[in-house]
Symmetry: C4
Subunit: 274 residues, 4 copies
């Protein structure tokens, strides 16, 4: 997600622009980022408020003006971003590039396509743009620890989710047989929904077992859910622990490798003294 060195263009003014927009070391770069964060937050608030009938009725025109103000602002920013990178297409197709275009296109399209109402909500994705701020804050190492841990857990979490999906399918089907349509469990997909609501301990109560056997079975499922919630917690805890312990160590002075334990004396890759 972060532009590599080779992304910086050659022309001097484009390089300057790149520094302001993509970097946060210089003063104009920092100012740009702070303004951007506020614009993002306020534009999200605009979208959210627009959905409330009472607010729209009273402040509709202000919200409309604000929306266009932010759309034009983000459009200019998007064009500047495209200009200030070496390979604009590559940026346009990157994660943040797509988020950028999704953030402005609904409003722009609503000019040409009437009744674009619902798709306007896509604009909410502009909130994702706020994750750019990590590059300018002291929070970057914290964010890295969390994302490292989540990435390292991904495969295990994947296996776990496959297990949970199998489990809720089987539990839901059993509950469909036990309770049946007359108690609200009218088909298997609905019963699977109940199983998810129960196993994750959300428990809306819109669907609850009515028969004694159903209540007994539900009790077992809940106690099972107790044990199951421990699995992702365990996985993520272990990975965070690893990420935290690894993060503060220095690089190997000989081979430059990272990730040595805090009690390591020799580099584990090249064997030279740390």
């Amino acid at each position: 997600m972060e532009p590599k060195v080779q992304e910086i263009p050659d022309a001097n003014w484009r390089r300057k622009l790149h520094e302001v927009i993509f970097e946060a070391e210089t003063f104009p770069g920092k100012v740009f980022d702070v303004i951007l964060i506020w614009a993002i937050v306020l534009s999200v608030v605009t979208v959210v408020l627009e959905s409330v009938t009472e607010v729209r009725d009273e402040f509709g025109e202000i919200l409309f003006a604000a929306e266009w103000f932010f759309t034009i602002l983000f459009s200019i920013e998007y064009i500047l971003r495209l200009i200030s990178v070496k390979r604009p297409w590559r940026y346009a197709l990157s994660f943040f590039g797509i988020v950028d275009i999704l953030a402005i296109s609904p409003t722009l399209l609503s000019l040409f396509v009437p009744g674009f109402q619902y798709l306007l909500t896509i604009r909410i994705l502009r909130f994702l743009r706020i994750f750019r701020i990590f590059k300018l804050t002291e929070y970057i190492s914290e964010a890295r620890i969390i994302t490292t841990a989540l990435k390292a857990s991904a495969k295990k979490i994947g296996v776990f989710i496959l297990g949970v999906v199998s489990l809720v399918t089987i539990i839901g089907s059993l509950m469909y047989v036990i309770e049946g349509g007359e108690n609200g469990f009218s088909n298997i997909p609905l019963s699977i929904y109940w199983a998810v609501v129960t196993l994750t301990t959300v428990g809306y109560g819109d669907l609850a077992p009515q028969t004694n056997l159903g209540k007994f079975f539900a009790s077992i499922v809940m106690i099972l859910g107790y044990g199951i919630i421990a699995v992702p917690t365990g996985i993520v805890t272990v990975e965070i622990s690893k990420a935290v312990n690894k993060s503060p160590t220095e690089n190997c002075p000989t081979c430059g490798s990272e990730g040595h334990d805090s009690d390591a004396v020799y580099c584990k890759y090249c064997g030279s003294l740390l």
Copy 2:
């Protein structure tokens, strides 16, 4: 669950068959596995959709055809599996052997026994067959870590569940005395059900304390539940941590120290080659 070497039959064509069906190293073996996964998923979707009245009314015939298609497919697969192992009975009585027969028998039996409606849901167990895929994926080591941790936790979780069962029995009985039948807590089993719903933080709300004393007592139970949910989490976390740390490392051949990362080349304590 996985066939040992001695399960491989002697005859050449049966050995070939064994390789395709049970192994995933060869190309035909991989193709077979991928087809099988899709067949399992689609057959489960068939069972699930069949339970939805609207879908059954409209697409009933397609679902009927699909069901028979998958049943015949799985029947052939089951016979091939029996042929390709040395001791077919042993396979038939293994975990996956029983799951295999449960996956096809309801549909086959419905031919002879009319009104087999509800038992058809047993077919959902064919979902369990998807866990075969672990043998062909890169997820095998992740799955092994989770199952190792769960197995190692089993006894502790058992003691914990006995404690929880005692606790909900006592809490439920107390609540039955406090609230009584007029507030919905009409007998002890129902009150125990409430205790499980509350202690596991599911909280349907179909049964909630009405009296002041009941609400006070329920508050204590909930805060208790807070602490209790920590126990299985703690147990599983510790075991996952062990399983993760144990799985990939070897001791240093020079100084004998442990705890090297799986990607370490040199001992981090004495610097000699691992």
Copy 3:
């Protein structure tokens, strides 16, 4: 809870009796324990079933007979226990001694005091007697790890609970001001109950914020509850981790002390080689 050596009486037949009742090494001792477990479970089931109107109406007499059977059985057992220890009073006032008397007294008292109905539920406490079985099972070390971890966490959990009590009091009071009586938050104790239900993520839904401000505030409380649930989990996980790591190590051959880490080379108390 376990009788010390000095509790064993001198007389030979009393010593024999002690062995059978309190120990589980001999064959009669094991038989006694197994019978006891079943008697406890069945007597608890009797109490639970008795509270269900439909069951009492139909099987009332059988349950009545069963109740008296178990009461007489447990009374004899209690007397034998008193005989087989050196200091009967000391046993009678111990934890299990009190549980024993609570398990039989309600039924016995109901003979003399009519209308003892509700107090009969005290009998459910006889379920606690099942924790005696830990002395005869292989689960003893698992149970010890859990209780050790919980004991070690007790003080920290205490501080945590004081914090939670303060928090729910303040949150409840704020919510009382925000929502007020017309939305169901009719007084502070009730609002505190809501705060407990929300912070522990139980969420019955019998009381939920109606105003926009209330919903906003409730959202903050829920996200707060997310972080708070992590505290007891963290405390207990760390203590279980300690208890697990300490448990399997050998005693010091010189000073006999326990609790050495698994990687210790020298005794940490007397300094001699392990």
Copy 4:
């Protein structure tokens, strides 16, 4: 929060007063603290009970008297605190100084400003004063471990909360599009509230998806919530583990090794005296 040495005044009688009020080493100091705790708890109970209509109707006068008793008591205490520190203004503007004034001012102001009803609830903040007791108890080290861990987690939890806020905003907006106003999801803020209730597994059930697509999407959100709750737990567990391990150990003076238990006398690696 705790007064430094330079806060102790020079005059002898003020120094004595400081010792009694702020310290807990002397006997009068301990007596003062115990009385204070009880006064705080009882005054909080007064505020809580006053909000219950039935209690106010019957015991209104007693509660009124009690309230004034505690207000005068705390006012005297506040004045004494101001006198016994060197720089009263600094104390008055400290955390506990502000809590102190908030605890007494509502009742005092109600004399002059009629209809001060609702603001009286601010008095509940006097509960926070109970956290002073940590200085006199054996719980201080436990409290320090928890607060150290929470402080160390603060930044990571901050990043996590930013992620959760983004997530619930996007989930809420999506659900608003999926379900729409006719199913109760009448605007985005309300849908975000639903997303928080679901993701934190609280699940009131006052708002639940009605459409099939909504239920499917909600199921994904719940399983997602499963994984997400693991993140703060993991963060806090790792920090508590660090805080626990750090607090009591010292390095071996001979071999410099770390990680000795707090009760260790000899180094477990080289056997020399710690």
